[in-house]
Symmetry: C2
Subunit: 243 residues, 2 copies
């Protein structure tokens, strides 16, 4: 896979029109490619000297573990996303990263990342953009849990995933493949699995979206956007600002 085709390059390319030199700097970050099985943490909350990863294929979730043993899923990551960026910038990882499916990811050491930034500073700005987009998504999840009802929250979540997957070539306006179980959805959205099941059935019966057999199909995209009050401004997918 060349850097031009990689999900990471496609994603950063949404902010910076990448030069040959920048593409080859990205390429050099993909050297240490590894595979990870589903269900075993790649990054551990509380550990020091953790690596970061660029996700090439598969899905992961990042979550916080509470002292009582419960957990809160903060977000899911898809190909092109950085995993554990904070784990290399901070000394200690503040969250866990667990593969939802088998994944392939490139390990990135802090020093390689910092070296790349110093040689190709526009990439630092692109990664800052990507981190800001990640923050914007967590903000939306906070607003979802704080202010949106279960149906709006689910609709917003499915639309956001769709827009993210489309950017890296893994989805379209008609839908996308999605390996998330109703338990994972429940954990991310602060709902019970039964509630998730009911909300998905309602959305399907209203002809808005169907999530079945690992496939999300948008039956009425405009209607779903309206229901969720989904304003994709926060994803900033309108093409590179840095030419």
């Amino acid at each position: 896979m060349t850097a031009l085709q990689s999900p990471f390059a496609r994603k950063l390319g949404a902010f910076v029109a990448l030069s040959e030199e920048e593409l080859s700097a990205l390429d050099s970050l993909y050297g240490r490619r590894k595979a990870f099985p589903a269900g075993r943490d790649m990054v551990h909350q509380g550990q020091t000297d953790q690596s970061a990863y660029i996700l090439a294929s598969g899905w992961v979730c990042s979550y916080k573990l509470l002292s009582g043993g419960s957990r809160q899923i903060v977000d899911f990551q898809i190909p092109g996303d950085f995993l554990g960026l904070r784990s290399v910038l901070f000394r200690t990882s503040d969250h866990n990263v667990e593969p939802v499916t088998r994944v392939e990811a490139s390990e990135v050491l802090a020093k390689d990342l910092l070296e790349t930034f110093s040689k190709t500073p526009r990439l630092a700005t692109a990664v800052l953009w990507a981190a800001s987009r990640d923050e914007a998504m967590v903000v939306e999840h906070l607003v979802g849990i704080g202010r949106r009802n279960a149906k709006e929250r689910m609709a917003h979540f499915l639309l956001e995933l769709g827009a993210r997957l489309k950017l890296v070539g893994l989805g379209s306006t008609s839908g996308y493949a999605c390996p998330l179980s109703q338990y994972l959805l429940a954990d991310a959205m602060g709902l019970s699995a039964i509630h998730v099941n009911r909300v998905l059935r309602e959305l399907r019966e209203e002809g808005l979206v169907t999530f079945q057999h690992g496939q999300v199909e948008f039956d009425d995209l405009d209607g779903l956007v309206l229901l969720a009050d989904f304003d994709k401004t926060y994803l900033d997918h309108d093409g590179p600002l840095l030419k």
Copy 2:
């Protein structure tokens, strides 16, 4: 005020040991200093071509407005914090920024920021660190609303603010001045103002923390940390990683 003493330089200095050149690059960002009255938005959700600001004095809150008219406060910003960074990296601002008190802030245009990053790339990494820390705080607020009870949530919030203020020289382990009303606290924490009032009374009566007359006093810091399960790892205040 020299860059060395500014809250922004103190904060970035927690990640990067700033050189003379870097300090003077920061200095040049402070040129367009402006004052803003309390209660009038500085950055507007949905607007394009918004400036970002570096907060020099006073407190602001950032919030999302929902179509129904309700709002969710995402975080409060204190001196040294970037306001509306996403508003310049993205084309359109995805949130509002409102001064809680009278504030002074330096306007930063996108082009000045990008120019500074390209001349002094370590500052881009430092701002990436600061943005990652902001994201980590939003994650904590998400976990708070999703999983912590009202008392733990409040304790965590007061401890986080204390650590942030201490880093920029505005607080100590004994406490800090805090201009936030119970209405603002309620809005940020997803509680009613009456509930906030009750929780603050309980925390005071248990000898843990007193928030009265605009002053937060830690009466039993260790006890409060224990109650909140506060692990300040996510604030990464242990001194510069980049020498």
